[in-house]
């Protein structure tokens, strides 16, 4: 009975963290191994390993879905590089300039690795009794390679597909199932998809566009009042972007619009970070003794003009360009979504 010696596993490409939830610490890493008659999924946390076996004779399907995780990382890394590159160009202090060059180089390396690894995906394996995610197959290229490795072994165990099964069986069964059971409503994360006409998105992008225009004017003509209005607008669209992100979950908001909203959140985070850098630079180079309270700091900040230094000019230019681009793109996409929704909901048509 002891078949310990008989089992030999071959490592399959890919390794990835098993995430439980939207934001979670990846406590275990998953990898796949090819056995004699099964695929072994190993979840390792460094101290112990959990095993799950998928026998070749039981595997019914492998479902791969491309995700935007890789693209989102590329955008975030690109923004970080742009930010530190700008710092390296505009900051006068030599040690800080070297530090920014090193940082931008490091993030460029991460970006290149991310681009080289290709688009990201989520892969599920389906048997008669379960559908389980394979976190190690998180890149399309790796998933394709693993599926092609598994295919001969699975087909050896299950036999070839008969043409009548492929052409007639599933379609008939599907139609029969559809006839007896009403079609399920599309769901997102287990909830029914609801309609959202993107009002919050529209408000957020309008504020963003307005702030972009105002920042553009501030580049040429700076007044403390306009800077104050701009900071109020920034606060407003920051809140609206977060609300829009919450509202778009489980809604019929199209993917592009979701992407622009996420990019806007990235921009909000980045602009806060840049403001912090500008504040610190002003604190160091200005008169720290006069800035005792938060209000003093804010008053100092709104009096900082783009003409004061190259760093502030760069931050203003970058902020204006991003706000204008994201705001305009977002508004156009919201308009198209509202138009599509309106035309689909007319009598005799179905949206979604």
């Amino acid at each position: 009975m002891d078949d310990r010696a008989r089992n030999r596993y071959r490592k399959l490409p890919g390794r990835g963290p098993r995430r439980r939830g939207f934001i979670s610490l990846p406590l275990s890493r998953c990898s796949l191994y090819l056995g004699d008659d099964h695929v072994l999924a190993v979840d390792s946390n460094g101290f112990s390993e959990d095993y799950k076996r998928f026998y070749f004779s039981d595997i019914q399907a492998v479902i791969t879905r491309r995700t935007r995780r890789g693209a989102a990382w590329s955008i975030v890394l690109g923004l970080m590089i742009a930010c530190f590159f700008m710092g390296a160009l505009f900051v006068e202090a030599e040690p800080l300039r070297i530090f920014f060059w090193i940082l931008s180089g490091t993030f460029l390396l991460f970006l290149l690795v991310n681009v080289f690894r290709g688009p990201t995906c989520i892969c599920h394996i389906m048997t008669a009794v379960q559908e389980d995610q394979l976190p190690s197959l998180n890149r399309l290229r790796v998933a394709g390679k693993v599926i092609e490795t598994l295919r001969p072994a699975i087909e050896r165990a299950q036999g070839d597909l008969r043409p009548q099964e492929v052409d007639v069986g599933p379609n008939e069964s599907f139609q029969a199932a559809r006839a007896t059971h009403p079609p399920r409503q599309p769901r997102a994360g287990g909830h029914a998809i609801r309609h959202d006409n993107g009002t919050i998105h529209r408000m957020a992008f309008a504020f963003l566009l307005l702030d972009g225009i105002l920042t553009g004017i501030l580049l040429l003509y700076h007044t403390a009042t306009m800077t104050g209005v701009s900071s109020v607008l920034t606060l407003a669209y920051s809140i609206l972007v977060v609300v829009a992100l919450v509202k778009q979950y489980g809604s019929d908001i199209p993917g592009t619009l979701r992407g622009i909203t996420w990019a806007s959140l990235g921009f909000v985070c980045l602009s806060f970070f840049l403001s912090y850098v500008v504040l610190m630079t002003t604190l160091v180079t200005g008169r720290p003794a006069t800035m005792i309270t938060q209000w003093d700091m804010y008053r100092t900040m709104i009096h900082v003009s783009p003409q004061d230094s190259r760093l502030v000019m760069g931050v203003y230019a970058f902020s204006a360009a991003c706000s204008l681009a994201l705001g305009a793109l977002g508004l156009v996409r919201v308009k198209r979504h509202r138009h599509d929704s309106a035309s689909a909901s007319r009598p005799g048509q179905n949206w979604g």
Binding site: N7, R65, M126, V129, I147, Q158, P170, F174
Partner: protein, 189 residues
């Protein structure tokens, strides 16, 4: 038959989209999706076998005396009916042997979790070196773990004892260093 659904919006996907070897767009959420379907999907679940009723001159199942025996257990040799016959890893086993094999770890394919004593011992030998005072306590524990679990089954997919060897070497060196230090301090007084 089960239906295959989009993993994002859970909408059933038509069979025409299966085995296209490329990404197709989900009809509902437009997520790019690829579905590779294998013959088991069309065969579905096979119904379980029932033991046949015993006739006069036939051998009976050890666990069900009124049922006809169809096969002996590959481990204990007891006669089994179709209901008691568990086919696993190319062998026919009775439920009792299966349970015993699982408990004693004889059937590797039933192992669901393993503690990596070699990794634990190695980490216990390496990480406390950052604050080296801790090694006074952790080095003996690492050495004990490495020796005590030398023969314990480790990972299913890793086979070498190199972590145990490194753990023992490091823990041994730490103990040696502490012993030398203590002897030196005592002899100086």
């Amino acid at each position: 038959m089960e239906e295959i659904c989009c993993t994002q919006c859970h909408t059933p996907i038509l069979a025409a989209y299966y085995n296209t070897s490329k990404l197709i767009s989900c009809p509902s959420c437009h997520a790019p999706i690829r579905i590779d379907v294998f013959p088991a999907f069309y065969h579905g679940l096979q119904p379980g076998k029932e033991g046949e009723t015993l006739m006069d001159d036939q051998a009976s199942c050890f666990y069900h005396p009124q049922k006809k025996a169809v096969i002996p257990c590959d481990h204990c040799g007891r006669f089994l009916c179709a209901l008691c016959d568990v086919e696993f890893g190319g062998k026919h086993l009775c439920p009792a042997c299966m349970e015993t094999g699982k408990k004693k770890g004889r059937i590797v394919n039933l192992d669901r979790q393993r503690v990596l004593y070699d990794s634990v011992a190695l980490k216990l030998a390496v990480f406390p070196m950052i604050i080296f005072y801790f090694t006074l306590v952790t080095a003996p524990i690492a050495l004990y773990l490495a020796i005590h679990h030398w023969k314990s089954p480790t990972s299913l997919v890793r086979r070498t004892k190199i972590r145990f060897i490194f753990a023992m070497a490091l823990a041994g060196l730490q103990i040696l260093a502490w012993t030398t230090g203590i002897i030196y301090l005592v002899s100086r007084r």
